[in-house]
Symmetry: C2
Subunit: 337 residues, 2 copies
C-alpha cells in the first residue's frame, strides 16, 4: 500500500510519464490568447461534419490520433483508453473513438474529465497494467448549448455569470516509457454540494469542490501553495476563481499568486465577450495540452497541480429543482530533472 498518501491521494512510487499530446480547437478559441499554441484551429466549428455532435466526435478522434502519432506509437500499442465528454450518454466519445479498436473505459466527470481520465491512466500505468494508455476528452460550444441550454438558433441571451463552453479536445499518452514530464501523484475528488441551484453560475457551484481537492492535496502531500509553480483549475471562470481563493484563505492557504484558471486563460475577457470565461471538458484539456505541458517541457514551470472542475447537473436534475454539486480531480504534473 506504499502509493497511498493521506486521506485521498496517491503518490506514485514509479511515476508514469506523459509522452505525447495533441489538441484541436474551434475558431473562437483560435482567436484567443492561446491561439498560436494550438495544434489545429478549425476554420468553422463543424470540422467537415454535418452535426455539432459529429463535429465534437471528429475533434476527439483527431486529437486522440495525433497524440498517438506525437508519442511515436500506433493504435495497437495503446492498451486502454480513458475518455468521456459532456453529452448525454457521452456520445461524442462513443462515436469519436469507434474505429480505435482499443479497450475503453468510458467516464463521466463533467468538466473534470481531463483530470479523471489522467488520474485513471496514471494509476493504470503505474500499476504495470499497461505500457501506454490514452486519456482524451472534448467539449463543443454548440453541442453543449443544445444539450444544456437552448439550440443556437433560438438566439437566447446569456446571464453574465454564464460561462462559454470551449470547442476543443485534448488527448494525452500516459506511458511507462521515460519522458520529460511525469505524473507524480493524484488527489481524487469527492462530490461537494453547497446547495447552489443556479445552473448559469457553474463557477460558484464548482469552486467548493476545487477548494476541497486543493486543500486535501496540500494536506496529503504536506505542501504549501508555493511548492507548485501553478495551481490550475479547469473552468471556474472569473466568479468561481474569486470564490475559490476566498474559500482557501478561510482554510489557511493563500493561492492567489499560484492560481491560474483555464477558463480565464483561453479567452480574452475584453475582446471575446464570454462573460464568466471558458468552460467544458475541452477547456482544461486543450489548455494543458497546448500551453501548460509546453511550459513544463521548456522549463518555465517545474511542478503544477492541475485540477479540472466539474458541475454535476443535467437539464432533468435542474428542472426538478436539484442543486448543482461539483467535483474536482487533482493531478500533479512535473518536469523530470
Amino acid at each position: 500500500m506504499s502509493n497511498i498518501l493521506g486521506k485521498q491521494s496517491l503518490k506514485f512510487e514509479v511515476p508514469p510519464y506523459i509522452i505525447g499530446t495533441a489538441n484541436i480547437v474551434g475558431k473562437k478559441e483560435g482567436e484567443g490568447p492561446l491561439g498560436k499554441l494550438f495544434d489545429v484551429v478549425g476554420e468553422d466549428d463543424l470540422f467537415g461534419e454535418e452535426t455539432w455532435e459529429e463535429a465534437e466526435s471528429s475533434m476527439q478522434n483527431k486529437a486522440a490520433s495525433w497524440a498517438i502519432d506525437n508519442a511515436k506509437l500506433t493504435k495497437d500499442q495503446i492498451r486502454y483508453i480513458f475518455a468521456g465528454d459532456l453529452l448525454g450518454q457521452t456520445i461524442a466519445t462513443s462515436f469519436g473513438l469507434l474505429n480505435f479498436n482499443v479497450p475503453l473505459f468510458g467516464l463521466y466527470g463533467a468538466c473534470s474529465t481531463a483530470g479523471e481520465s489522467l488520474s485513471l491512466a496514471a494509476m493504470t500505468v503505474a500499476a504495470g497494467y499497461a505500457e501506454n494508455v490514452l486519456a482524451v476528452t472534448s467539449s463543443h460550444f454548440a453541442s453543449a448549448e443544445k444539450q444544456f441550454r437552448y439550440p443556437l438558433e433560438y438566439g437566447n441571451q446569456r446571464p453574465l455569470a454564464a460561462s462559454w463552453t470551449v470547442t476543443g479536445s485534448g488527448a494525452f499518452i500516459v506511458s511507462s516509457k521515460q519522458g520529460k514530464i511525469k505524473i507524480s501523484g493524484i488527489t481524487t475528488g469527492k462530490i461537494i454540494d453547497y446547495g447552489i441551484k443556479d445552473s448559469m453560475n457553474m463557477g460558484a457551484a464548482m469552486a467548493p469542490a476545487a477548494c476541497d481537492t486543493i486543500y486535501q492535496n496540500l494536506m496529503d502531500f504536506s505542501f504549501q501553495p508555493e511548492d507548485y509553480d501553478k495551481i490550475v483549475t479547469g473552468d471556474l471562470g472569473y466568479i468561481g476563481s474569486d470564490i475559490l481563493i476566498d474559500l482557501l484563505k478561510e482554510k489557511g492557504f493563500d493561492i492567489s499568486i499560484q492560481h491560474m484558471d483555464c477558463g480565464k486563460k483561453i479567452f480574452d475577457q475584453k475582446t471575446q465577450d464570454t462573460h464568466a470565461g471558458g468552460s467544458g471538458c475541452g477547456c482544461s484539456a486543450a489548455t494543458l495540452s497546448a500551453y501548460l505541458l509546453k511550459e513544463i517541457e521548456m522549463g518555465n514551470l517545474k511542478r503544477i497541480l492541475f485540477v479540472p472542475t466539474g458541475a454535476l447537473l443535467s437539464t432533468v436534475s435542474f428542472n426538478e429543482g436539484q442543486s448543482v454539486p461539483g467535483i474536482a480531480h487533482g493531478v500533479i504534473i512535473e518536469r523530470c530533472e
Copy 2:
C-alpha cells in the same frame, strides 16, 4: 507487467475479493423468478421519493450503504467509489452518492457499467491503491423510458424486440481483505459497431460486443467455455442471446450450455410480458448481487465470466441517424477454495 495477459486481459497476481454486496429492486422485479433472493423489493417504484430520478438515486444510495454494512465496514473505510448509471450526465449517481464523502470516479458504460465498475475497482485494489473500494450502478424503468423513449404517461406501444429496463441497483465492496469470492481477472471491452440502427433492438446491437469480449477472454486465458460454470451476459435478452451464441459458434466456441443472460433470468417471459427481456445497468448488477454471488458462495458455481453489455446510444445520436455500437466488459469471478 506480470498482470498483463494476452491482447486485452489482466490476470491479477494478487486477486481482490468481493467481501460485501447489496441490492434493491422494484415491484415487478420482486414478482419475477429471482424475487425472493433480492435484499429489498420496493412496494412501489418511487421508493418514497417524488421523481423517478430521485427514486433511482435513492436505490443507489441504499444499495451502496447496505453493501458497506454487509462488508462490516463504515463509509470512511471506503477509499474510492466507481459508479455510473444510464441517465444523461449520470445524475442518478451524482445525487445518489452525494452524502458519501468518498472520492468518486464517475463512469459511463451504458448497461455494461456493472462490469466496468467492478473491473476498475479490482484494478485499484489489486494495485495496492486502496483496501476497500465500492462499485455501484443502477437503472430505473421509468427514468430510462423518460430518458430514452417516452414518458410513461404517453402510453406508447413497445415493439417485441424492445427490452424492459430493470428497476434496481447492485453494489459491491471489492477489498484486499480475504473473502470467499475473488475477482481473478478481467477482459476490457472495445467499442464494437455492426451498424445496427434499431434502438428498439438493443440485444442485436450489443451481441457483437459480447461476442468480441467473450472470445478475447477465452483466447487470452487459453480457456474453453467449459472452464466456466456460467458465462453470464448482462441484458442481451432473447434476441441478442441467440445472436451471441451464433456469432461465437462462427468463431469456434459453443457456449450454449454455459450461457445465461440476466435479462432473461430476472423476468418470467410467460407471465411478465417484458418482450425481449430485462435490461439496464441494474439488471446485471442486481442479478449478480442477489443470485450469482450467492450461488458462488454456496459452492453451486465455482467460476463464472460476468459480461455486462452496453448499447452506446442517446436519443440525439439515434435521431441523427447514427448506429448503436456496443461494448461489454468481462469479469472473472471465482469461489476461493
